[in-house]
Amino acid sequence: MESSIYISGKLLSITTFIYFFAMFAYIIYAVSRNNIMGAIGTILTAMGFLVETGGLVLRWIESYQMGIGRPPLTNLYESLVFFAWCTAGIYLAFEFYYKNRFMGAFVLPFVSIAMAYASFSPNISQEIQPLVPALQSNWLIYHVITCFLAYAAFAVACGVSIMYLIKNRKEEKKISFGPILSLFPSMAVLDDINYKAIAIGFPMLTLGIITGAAWANYAWGSYWSWDPKETWSLITWFVYAAFLHARFTRGWKGKKAAWLSVIGFISVIITYLGVNLLLSGLHSYAS
């Protein structure tokens, strides 16, 4: 069965293209400082977000029509789509709050790559499959939603931290990046956005780990078994905990904290994808 037989699949394919155009609009905006391009970026991202919402809801409905009703959060394809959805949503909220479109060029690539990977990788099945017994639990929804909101917030934090590091490098080394940097928010604002995103991500990740532990205890009789996915989620938690404490420590503010945010997101990617693709364990169903 190909995805094309699902209407939701078509909507999600369209979403992939909309996000790509949004990403390019933001990048052109970043380089040209043309405000119309920036507005197009925002409109396209919001459009992509809406179409994707429709796609996810429809996929849920379609699963009921197939007689196997389950939320669209149960395999690698759906989780990538959901990651893109969360990241686009959280990004739009931050853009609206801070009234700065420049971050789009640094966050939308994460959204586009996730959608493109989901849509075009030959290894990822887009089929709507019924749930294996281990996944038949309400904990699934709580666990996946909390984890992915965390991942999305961390993606935004990572994008902003990269901006911070570029700007910091410019100020340290007096390297000119031409007009691009003029649109960057000030370093203090970047630092603030980074912190705010992690202030959302960290409690969500904690809740994700706790719901995962509760579920594991209910399904397997052990809330913590040091399986690679669990361990990597804890590693991610350690890195962001270090970030939060580093802010109160002299010599760890600013640049080092931004690096911790970037490293934290690398750890998120390993937790999310690396463990499934490279290591075996209890979460291997997702590959």
Binding site: G67, I68, Q129, P130, V132, P133, A134, Q136, S137, A188, D192, A199, I200, F202, P203, T206, L207, I210, A213, A214, N217, Y218, A219, W220, G221, S222, Y223, W224, W226, P228, T231, W232, L234, I235, F238, V239, A241, A242, H245, A246, F248, T249, W252, S267, V275, L279
Partner: protein
């Protein structure tokens, strides 16, 4: 004395916390790369002698329970406790007895401050400002002296306790984990259908645990989706205590059974015996055209009146979307054994055309054993309390922000002078908020 003081400071430092968090993150990676709990021979085969020796010496085969990892966790916990204790006392003091009066000292040192002059009566202005601020910042502390009126707002004053609630929750979770490790266990029971057991087998060669009651498996069954994927593993079990059947339960994955502090989980299953009712047709030879009904099992049986054998090798509920199929292995004299499927829904398909026999699928039955995991963990509730506290603590840390406002009113003979000062743990965001408060007060009218 001086040295002891240093250790205290070292253990109380946030720098040590950052360092330990990073070290814990880095070392934890090792156990996700090196497979855990393999045998010595398996490591030797996988990594060779040198690396295997390192693995054994550093206990990397079970690194999350190794002495050095436990030591790191203990040091981390100690750091967290000492660090919290050191900062908690001054903080509690500051919450309980904050500076409420905007005196000259405070006016000099505070960052956010402004003065507004208003035409009119001092009491009327105090009431107007109070009327504006109180809905947002709660009930103020009020003090009236001969010349001045003081107001003090302290919103979200417990916000900074969030950090310490979070730290406490980590300690509680660790205690829960330790209680589970000391007084809990994980074991397993394998029960054939109809079989019963009163003890749990523990890992690591320990003596079996006597449950004090009996668990019996009445039936094990597999449920399937239309496409043949497994929908459920189900064990119907009965608890028998003192000869009485006290509880019946349908145990499935994600639906464990808890009885008297023990929790039983559906964890595995296996086939004990297979029984396929078949009709075998002889294609050629002296009995050509004859057919017999046979019952094939996993052990080879003789095909009637021949020297050849057949046995059941496997069975699928839905093989390649054609429905149920039994995989037979036929052993004919002078030929290699051949395995092939016989489909229930394709009664005319002969998938082993070179054989002298043709089979029809009539019926299939198998009996199972069910594998139950059994755990006892008296610490698990402490862990959940810790987790709940952690969420409360994180909520307070991130979303309850302490905002303090000091106001002083006095009448200079002509106008009411309002001095306002503010402070928050979230400085940047509060600056804008403070500017807006000042602006709004300037525009207030009585």
């Amino acid at each position: 004395m001086a040295k002891k003081f240093d250790i205290w400071e070292f253990l109380a430092s946030v720098k040590l916390a950052v360092f330990l968090l990073i070290i814990l993150a880095i070392t934890s990676i090792v156990g996700t790369i090196i497979p855990q709990n393999l045998s010595y021979e398996e490591y030797l085969h996988k990594y060779g002698e040198t690396i295997t020796n390192i693995i054994v010496n550093l206990e990397l085969f079970d690194m999350y329970h190794s002495w050095w990892f436990i030591f790191l966790l203990a040091l981390f916990t100690l750091n967290l406790i000492v660090c919290s204790l050191k900062r908690l006392k001054p903080l509690l003091e500051q919450i309980k007895n904050p500076k409420k009066i905007l005196d000259e000292d405070l006016e000099k040192t505070i960052g956010l401050k402004d003065t507004i002059k208003k035409r009119g009566n001092i009491d009327a202005w105090k009431e107007a400002v109070k009327h504006y601020l109180s809905p947002k910042y709660g009930v103020p502390y009020e003090e009236i002296t001969k010349e001045n009126i003081y107001l003090y707002y302290d919103k979200g004053k417990y916000g900074r306790l969030g950090v310490y609630i979070t730290h406490l929750s980590i300690v509680i979770i660790m205690i829960g984990g330790m209680i589970g490790a000391i007084w809990g266990f994980r074991g397993f029971i394998n029960l054939p259908e109809g079989g019963a057991a009163d003890e749990v087998f523990l890992r690591g060669g320990k003596a079996p645990y006597k449950m004090g009651f009996i668990i019996r498996c009445d039936n094990f069954s597999l449920g399937y989706y239309p496409n043949g994927m497994i929908k459920e593993y189900r064990s119907d079990v009965t608890i028998i205590e003192n000869g009485q059947e006290v509880k019946k339960f349908a145990m499935r994955v994600n639906h464990p059974l808890t009885y008297k502090g023990l929790t039983f989980y559906q964890s595995s299953y296996g086939v004990i015996s297979r029984k396929a009712n078949l009709r075998v047709f002889i294609k050629s030879g002296k009995d050509a055209g004859k057919s017999y009904e046979i019952v094939a099992t996993e052990k080879p049986i003789n095909i009637p009146y021949t020297g050849d054998f057949v046995r059941v090798f496997d069975h699928y509920q839905n093989l390649e979307n054609y429905g149920p199929a039994v995989i037979l292995e036929v052993n004919e004299a002078g030929k290699m054994p051949v395995r092939f499927p016989v489909y229930k829904n394709l009664p005319d398909a002969d998938l082993n055309p070179n054989s002298n026999y043709f089979f029809k699928y009539i019926d299939y039955e198998e009996s199972y054993y069910t594998g139950l995991q059994v755990t006892k963990d008296p610490g698990v509730w402490i862990v959940w309390i810790g987790c709940f506290l952690m969420m409360v603590g994180l909520y307070y840390s991130f979303f309850v922000i302490r905002k303090r406002l000091w106001l002083k009113f006095y009448y200079d003979g002509e106008k009411t002078v309002v001095t306002i000062a503010g402070h928050s743990t979230r400085t940047r965001a509060f600056e804008e908020e403070f500017a807006k408060i000042v602006q709004d007060i300037k525009e207030l009218k009585i």
